[in-house]
């Protein structure tokens, strides 16, 4: 498969994977760790959405499905499917060490391993594409325009009935 097209598709898949898993496990609803609360309040002060701010803070401060997807891609590149599962195990330990009471990281890396297995075995993707794609996906959430990204994430959280204000 063409590398550029593969990276674009992988970025979209990674974005959907970690946003859906993180939103489902309630990242926008409440700050899991204390740094996330500060990030969320700051984003809201700059005109963003508080739920999206909590989401960004949680992604920033502790290993959630975003880190899980990235580590699962790296593990899959190195060691195949067992590598993805080892990544899930390490994300679980990282969650414990960060005192983050969430399920999103482990579940996110397991679903990412499943996506990687399907795409790399049957559809001709390479695991490297997913690593680059995940970096691009995190860049769209945290890097380009944090305020507008938080509004989008808040809308997604409302769709999932996981908004902070309810």
């Amino acid at each position: 498969m063409n590398e550029v097209i593969g990276i674009i598709i992988a970025a979209i898949l990674c974005w959907l994977n970690f946003v859906i898993v993180d939103t489902y496990f309630g990242l926008p609803e409440q700050p899991g760790v204390r740094g996330a609360k500060i990030v969320g309040k700051n984003v809201e002060k700059r005109g963003g959405d508080i739920a999206g701010g909590y989401f960004q803070g949680n992604v920033l401060c502790s290993p959630d499905a975003s880190a899980g997807t990235l580590l699962a891609s790296i593990g899959y590149l190195l060691l195949g499917i067992p590598g993805g599962i080892i990544a899930a195990f390490f994300v679980f330990m990282g969650n414990r060490l960060c005192a983050d009471p969430g399920y999103a990281g482990t579940c996110g890396s397991l679903t990412a391993t499943l996506i990687l297995f399907i795409c790399c075995s049957f559809l001709g993707f390479a695991p490297e594409m997913f690593i680059v794609g995940m970096v691009i996906a995190i860049l769209t959430i945290q890097g380009i325009d944090q305020v507008r990204a938080s509004v989008v994430l808040g809308k997604i959280a409302e769709k999932f009935n996981r908004h902070a204000r309810e």
Binding site: F25, Q30, R34, I38, P82, I86, P101, G102, Y103
Partner: protein, 129 residues
């Protein structure tokens, strides 16, 4: 030239020299061993009276349950053994069962000791302002 990953795995798989590893373990055996690890860990965890499902708003994973951390620990550690090419007897089944039992025991008796619950939110200094 200097391939860290390959040489590390190669070094760690020297256990094969003792004849303990199974040389030809196919994908079906691996899937079977994974399923065995998951099932055994959940069953032993239930036998040790760990609740099956976590407490209801699925947001506080420090409360252990049979579904959430137990099979994850079991298949994670089994994956490490698999990557190191050390699968022991019967195509890895024995190793999977042993790891399942040990991970259930770990979750029941050692989990709170190794990963203590975080302090209450109100106890720490308030850095919010």
């Amino acid at each position: 030239m200097f391939d860290l990953v390959d040489s590390t795995i190669f070094f760690a798989s020297y256990g094969n020299a003792l004849g303990l590893a199974n040389v030809s373990i196919g994908p079906f055996d691996i899937v079977l061993a994974y399923i065995a690890a998951i099932v055994v860990s959940i069953v032993v965890a239930l036998a040790l009276k760990i609740p099956l499902l976590p407490s209801k708003p699925y947001r506080y994973s420090f409360d252990v349950s049979a579904i959430y951390p137990t099979p994850i620990i079991a298949i994670g550690i089994f994956s490490i053994f698999l990557v190191l090419n050390y699968t022991f007897m019967y195509n890895g089944l024995v190793l999977a069962i042993i790891i399942g039992i040990l991970s259930a025991l770990f979750v029941k008796y050692l989990f709170d000791f190794v990963f203590p619950k975080p302090l209450n939110e109100d106890n720490g200094e308030d850095i919010d302002e």
